[in-house]
């Protein structure tokens, strides 16, 4: 079992003929993902990494029935691409593109919600579910770091997530699904929504939540955990040493007007019963601990 993506996921890649689109199509296929089509306006009829390319999402959808889209479309055109995906009836869109104006994202999110579609990202590494035979991945998370297991991972970071997943795998733990939410101020999916999915997934026995400074998402996750999430949670918050008012690399990672500090997040999560690691490398041991104790909860 898993959340969001699994063996029946059929991926359409928007922007497949670009450098990133092509490379990650290859990586997704190597992971075991069924990539069924690609779209680049004007490049219809060509083939990339064995995947047929279409001029529009509508044509690709009619021919190949995708149920997830991965967007590698430059920021100024991302809104257009997302609306096209939603209009074609594709229920899941992973947006890898960074630097999409949050104003665009506000209307993209509103449109997706109104049509029952889910967005992961933008500015995110995507979603991956390792499998015993073949995995499924929509996005750019490295293939080598996974092994199937009981830990759900949800994160606002990219590379830091890879490092943490790698640590879990090295410790012999393994992952159910890893969800990278992205570091932007308006994410398509939040921690709370990801936790709701992990709650319903029988394979997921514990969740690792990787947050960072800025915004209220971790505090809201803490409220949700205290209220209605009964699987053990190990959390890590990056940016304890970040000064206020500085944007720490991610558009969303900024302590503004005294809000969104690491202290506030760590405190809220601790109060909610999560185990909070001080450093990323402490996470595997904490997960082992909570998994041992999970039977008694």
């Amino acid at each position: 079992m898993s959340v969001l993506v699994g063996p029946d996921t059929r991926v359409l890649v928007q922007g497949i003929t670009g450098h990133q689109g092509t490379n990650h199509t290859r990586n997704m296929k190597q992971f075991g993902t069924e990539v069924v089509s690609g779209v680049t306006p004007g490049k219809g009829g060509s083939v990339v990494e064995g995947v047929p390319v279409f001029d529009s999402v509508e044509e690709a959808t009619q021919a190949t029935q995708p149920n997830a889209a991965c967007l590698f479309v430059p920021a100024p055109f991302a809104k257009d691409a997302l609306i096209e995906t939603v209009d074609a009836g594709i229920p899941l869109a992973v947006i890898v593109t960074e630097h999409i104006p949050f104003h665009d994202m506000l209307s993209m999110l509103s449109y997706a919600r109104a049509h029952g579609a889910r967005i992961i990202g933008p500015n995110c590494p995507g979603v991956a579910t390792p499998g015993p035979e073949r995995g499924a991945k929509v996005g750019i998370i490295p293939n080598m770091i996974f092994r199937p297991g009981p830990v759900g991972v949800v994160s606002r970071s990219g590379t830091l997530t890879y490092e943490i997943v790698n640590g879990l795998t090295e410790a012999g733990l393994g992952e159910s699904t890893c969800i990278g939410l992205g570091g932007d101020p308006v994410p398509g999916t939040t921690f709370v929504e990801a936790l709701e999915m992990f709650r319903e997934d029988p394979q997921t026995k514990a969740v690792v939540l990787v947050g960072e400074i800025g915004g209220p998402a971790e505090e809201e996750a803490a409220e949700y955990i205290a209220r209605s999430f009964h699987k053990p949670v190990v959390a890590y918050i990056a940016g304890r040493s970040a000064p206020p008012g500085k944007r720490m690399g991610h558009a969303g990672a900024i302590i503004s007007r005294g809000r969104g500090t690491a202290e506030s997040k760590v405190e809220a999560l601790t109060r909610a019963g999560a185990r909070v690691a001080r450093f990323p490398y402490e996470i595997p041991a904490l997960v082992q601990e909570v998994l041992k104790g999970a039977g008694s909860r």
Binding site: N23, N27, A75, P76, H99, I100, P101, F102, H103, L106, S107, L109, S110, Y111, I140, I141, P142, M144, S155, R156, S157, G158, T159, L160, T161, Y162, E163, N166, G183, P185, V186, P187, V210, E212, I213, G215, P216, A217, E220, Y236, A238, G239, R240, S241, A242, P243, K246, R247, M248, G249, H250, A251, G252, A253, R257, G258, R278, F279, P280, Y281
Partner: protein, 395 residues
Amino acid sequence: MVKLPEHRGKQLFRKYSIPLPPGEVAASAEQAERLVREGRVPLPCVIKAQVLAGGRGKGGAVRFAATAEEVRHAAEAILGREFQGEKVRQVLLEQKLELRQEFYVSVTLDRSRRQPLLMASAAGGVEIESVPDEKIRRIAIDPTVGLVGYQKRAVAKALGLSAGPARSLEGVLDGLWRIFDEEDAELVEINPLAWVGDGLVALDAKVIIEDDALFRHPEHRTLHGDLTPLEAKAREKDIAFVEIGGDIGVIANGAGITMATLDVLSQEGGRPGVFLDLGGTDDPKKVAEAFLLMSEARPKVVFINIFGGVTRCDTVARGLIEAMRISPPQFPLVARIRGNNEREGVSLLREAGVNSFTDLAQAARRVVELEQAPQPPPGIRPVPAGGPVAAPEAR
């Protein structure tokens, strides 16, 4: 984020029909005096330094004058002065108005609801953070619908306005929303919004434009907001670079891993000073650019922390070595790399004479040692510090 100086914000206000006091910008005391003598700014007037920092009133950067003579003296006292590290190059002169009451209005992003948020309060003229929650009216705006009539009427009622002033408020709110929406603002704030006669007038303007939307607003591209000169230079080269005031440089790939690195260094007693996010790149030319930028920040030591995921560690290492050839780093270097092919990556770096680790805590301790070591005399190029180059437990 691009913070607009007050007078630039007010240009936008004018464009969107938000009423302003009669005013002009001056770059010299003579010009200020002339503007008043020619009647272009009626007396009495207020003279405000055009700097981005807050707290101008308390800091003496806002003054009042009743005569042309006083205007010149006030402008002389403010222009050229440093205000919180920022030199005052311009002043805004505006007529001082008799006002009945001060309000607060703003539109910003509510990250919790992921919707635009209109905030209004009858307790204007003070920092909004100091106003109790029950005195602030909050209205969520659907971005696809925009601000609608009943919402504006609700704000007017909350501020205790009716008739002429209420109609004036509705016009101000329309302008506020349109600036937020059409100019891609992160924040549009009027504090205070003054009740003058039968209408409302914006006495201050705080507008922040979103970086990522600058491709739609090239007119703001030249403003760097509150970036340091080096940060501005890095931005022109499309490198994410942030200065935070210590003496360790950090180069990492990804924002989260960078923040985690700073946290570990701080824990070990180090003082991280600048960080640079390489993102997904393994292009030696870009890394060499990064080294050059780093040199300008004059760090005592630079810590490179990379997780090689999509890009394998040996490729990362080769990129670093090539970058060191193109642009020999003028600082001691410690590297920590993890991920795919880490063993090969570490041994390549060791051969190139770089302190290399796979363990983050160990690497951080070495960095802090080098930070706290006495500095080599000038003229001697600091090479990666001696001793056996550690590469423990590489897989």
